[in-house]
Amino acid sequence: MAQTVENDVQLEGNATESNLKPQRLKITRFSDDSDKKILLKRLKDVEISVPIVYGTIAFWLGRKATETQSHKWTVYVRGATNEDLGVVIKRAVFQLHPSFNNPVRVVESPPFELSECGWGEFEIAISLFFHNDVCEKQLDLYHHLKLYSEDESGPQSTKKPVVVETYNEIVFPDPSEDFYARVQKHPAVIVPRLPVTINLPSVLATNVEDLNEKRGDTKDHPLSQWFNNFSEADELLKLAAARQQVGPLTS
């Protein structure tokens, strides 16, 4: 995180009991051409990150395979811990190969996934659109659909799919207050604790699961048995070991 110290011109740090004035707020105004002005308070020095995993799982269709439909595959974006990404992502747009009917597929609610049948491998473009208080810009990801496994060991199996997943984290460097308040306690989001207690509007977290609709999280997803477990511990260990080796040499 950047270490800038900002003295906001308008707000002073006068902490009274009932009214804790926010100290680290930057007021940005998005002015359209019309008179409408949305006041969005942003938090500096706070970064909200959403760990995600995106990728494809492809099953060979075996006896049912035809020339043009040899595999059934699913492309998806899920939370790294299989939590519901609907708090952050409004919709996901999957751009498929032009040979598909309606190659632009929009998924409006979690889980953000798409299944199709086909025979060829190609690059899928995934565009993530966030809720209004999260971010106005979209984020683009690219993933190569893999149908055939690396090792050519024998015939394909209908039971074992070809799984390619990529771990990454979506970082929001200057989150808005509302966004922060909304996702503060959500398991899908990594939110650092603010050192100065800021009086944020208490938001009732709307639990999608309570609404008896389709679940947004992927914990009990039918394909969840194939999901990879990405643990940073392994990588951290390797890096620490490497640094241990290099560090002393440079001192």
Partner: protein, 443 residues
């Protein structure tokens, strides 16, 4: 051969084609009007556009109605002060020799060096640093050598620099002009009056040019690096300023721009500091600008952020160095791009890369110093004491070996970076007992 089969080409096509094209070329080589050898000068082929009108070549002399003869005649040169008479060939048309001055006389230009009288000197031109004789000599030389000050400086009896001579000449001429002018307005446009000669500026300028010329390659490289960094920082600043200004109205502008300036200012001194410490401060300033540019994106992937930071950190390194860093990472069993790019992993990865970069730089500098040291030793064998350089070179070789990440049996050999040229007691024991400080920078 197989390729041709696959392509379906006839195998003997090409040689036959070559033979066929040659005979038609031979028959084309019959130009009219000019001889064959001359024609061959143009490349042996007819040009696309006839450059030389072949008909004109032989005919031109014939169609003249005048009679041209060439005669060996005397001539005089008006540019000469003596009346020397020389001879040369002259093109005589119909028996009439050409008139007019010698054609090169017009090129005899000289500079109008002003001449002052003694009274004028007394009145306007006296100067504490210059005697009248010196000034007279100066002006005489200037006239003889057409203001070629280098030559004048050479011939000037008492040693004065070119700048001093120029200064004196220009100020005297200027003073005379102004004094002689009927009104100041007349001479205001004269170049001597309009522009004054600034001797100190000239010396400075020439000194700077000399410095620039004598820059070693290393210095040039460093200059380029610093300029590149400065450019990057100013661009990042501009980018952040531009996008900030487009979003924020005047109210919050004060706040954000103030913060922006604060970061920019903290960045600036670090880059303006001496080049030696740039190896440490440069990464700080670069990551700051990367962070600023990432902020502007509003949303980004952590892997992308890491990429940008890695690029910024290795911006000062060449392609080969970067490849070596990657090779080292692979040797250590670390993924070039982390499989699980969390915040902690990315931070560690970046630090590791930076450390490897520092390591490689150190190794390189060590090699340089070794090379220097060995060349010194060969050059001035008598000067340097016998044993210490030898010890140092041995240790340098040891250092080189221990730096390879594979052989990590460092044991107790913790060497600090020592200058090759350091004289005195061999530094081996202090190095082992003292914990070496973190390497700061090269000189």
């Amino acid at each position: 051969m197989d390729a041709k089969d696959i392509l379906g080409l006839p195998k003997n096509a090409l040689p036959i084609q070559e033979k066929k094209s040659k005979p038609p070329k031979e028959s084309q080589r019959k130009p009219d009007g000019i001889s064959r050898e001359v024609y061959a000068l143009t490349g042996g082929l007819a040009p696309l556009m006839p450059a030389v009108d072949v008909n004109q070549l032989k005919r031109k002399a014939q169609s003249d109605n005048e009679k041209i003869t060439w005669q060996w005649l005397p001539f005089t040169n008006s540019a000469r002060k003596d009346s020397l008479q020389l001879y040369h060939w002259v093109r005589v048309v119909n028996g009439i020799p050409p008139t007019g001055d010698y054609s090169f006389a017009k090129y005899n230009k000289s500079v109008d060096v002003l001449k002052y009288t003694d009274e004028e000197y007394e009145k306007y031109l006296t100067d504490p640093a210059w005697t009248k004789e010196e000034t007279d000599q100066l002006f005489d030389l200037c006239e003889r050598f057409d203001l070629r000050f280098i030559v004048v400086a050479d011939r000037f009896p008492s040693s004065k620099t070119v700048e001093e001579l120029k200064d004196r000449y220009y100020s005297v001429s200027r003073a005379i002009l102004i004094a002689r002018a009927l009104s100041p307005g007349d001479v205001a446009t004269h170049p001597l009056v309009k522009e004054t000669y600034n001797a100190s500026q000239e010396t400075e300028r020439k000194r700077a040019l000399n410095l620039l010329l004598s820059h070693t390659k290393q210095q040039e490289r460093k200059d380029v690096e610093v300029l590149a960094q400065a450019k990057k920082i100013s661009e990042a600043r501009k980018a952040s300023k531009a996008s900030e200004e487009s979003e924020l109205p005047v109210l919050s502008d004060i706040g954000s721009l103030g913060a922006d300036k604060a970061t920019a200012d903290t960045v600036n001194p670090s880059t303006n500091s001496q080049i030696p410490s740039s190896s440490i401060t440069a990464p700080v300033s670069e990551t700051a600008s990367v962070i600023a540019s990432l902020r502007m994106l509003r949303v980004y992937l952590r892997s992308y952020a890491l990429e940008q930071m890695v690029q910024a950190a290795s911006s000062s390194a060449g392609l080969r160095t970067i490849k070596r860093v990657e090779q080292t990472l692979q040797d250590l069993g670390v993924n070039l791009k982390p499989k699980v790019p969390t915040k902690a992993v990315c931070a560690e990865h970046l630090e590791l890369r930076k450390e490897i970069l520092t390591l490689l730089n150190l190794q390189k500098q060590l090699q340089y110093k070794e090379a220097e040291g060995s060349s010194f030793r060969e050059g001035s064998y008598t000067e340097t004491p016998g044993t210490p350089p030898k010890q140092q070179s041995l240790r340098a070789a040891d250092l080189d070996r221990t730096f390879t990440p594979d052989s990590l049996s460092i044991g107790g050999e913790r060497f600090g970076k020592r200058e090759q040229k350091r004289k005195g007691p061999a530094p081996s024991s202090p190095a082992q007992s003292k914990r070496p400080r973190k390497y700061k920078a090269s000189d």
